[in-house]
Subunit: 164 residues, 2 copies
């Protein structure tokens, strides 16, 4: 069965991690990402630290083919509690905002800082930081039971104490 | 840094879930899968229950383009413990074994039953069951710290009591 609509909204607002699938040089490519919802899209930061192989693969892929898929999912030994949500979308690469410019990008960074207290200690942005902006165009979900969807919703309710 | 080799082997043998990315009709497509290692490959079962939209998307995609990517990953609030492993490979669709035929497929089913006690209560195979066989051709891994890689290895050691 599908996830409850409220559960889908809660995942997009508050689930901490997703698998980002892009069209790679030699087939599909997947990597875990953090993300936040802001200004009508999902945003995932690229910290701008120099990478071993130059530009990150996901950036190169998106510049060539903007179609991406984000998978949010939960596994546990009790298979009646399994669920997943897939959001397909169009991605674009944005520069991190500079002072006074980039209202959407600034909203995205603020949302990332609100969502992830880790950014109090981890640098969110280096000098060449980028943001992946994903406009969701289609969604599909599944959960093993109504109880699983309801439990997820309780878990993700604002104010719930949680540590994935 | 990369994961320790032993940690990579432990993930492929004992981690319970992966995101399977395939080349979809409208871009990359990702879905969570269970899997087991047997006969030199990774195997993921398709239970054979009738699907709402006919043949599962992942099966249709693989028949057209066998290139896939499997992402194994771990998230927690302590970002020094993050890790991921990506295994790129070539997939093919195999029929579940019939009596006396399909030694590789039989080994795959035995490995799935050993790995997932859930299959004592959940049907592993329906009448039209299929197996996705993935021959891994490339691997890439990352972990945030040596301690994270060592902790993962301890967590996945045979005999460790664990519930993801």
């Amino acid at each position: 069965m599908e996830l409850l609509d409220d559960a889908i909204e809660a995942i997009l607002d508050r689930w901490p991690v997703a698998a980002l699938a892009t069209a790679g040089d030699r087939g599909p490519h997947a990597v875990p990402v953090v993300f936040a919802r802001a200004a009508g899209a999902l945003w995932s930061p690229i910290d701008g630290k120099p990478k071993r192989d130059g530009e990150l693969a996901r950036i190169r892929h998106i510049r060539r083919d903007p179609r991406v898929s984000l998978l949010f999912s939960h596994y546990e030994a009790d298979w009646t509690r399994l669920w997943w949500l897939r959001a397909d979308g169009e991605a674009e690469i944005r520069r991190a905002p500079t002072e006074g410019c980039g209202a959407e990008e600034a909203a995205a960074l603020a949302a990332l800082r609100r969502k992830y207290p880790q950014y109090e200690h981890v640098a969110l942005l280096g000098p060449d930081a980028l943001l992946v902006r994903i406009a969701v165009t289609a969604q599909r979900s599944w959960c093993a039971s109504e109880e699983g969807s309801a439990a997820l919703l309780a878990y993700l309710s604002p104010g719930a104490v949680r540590d994935l």
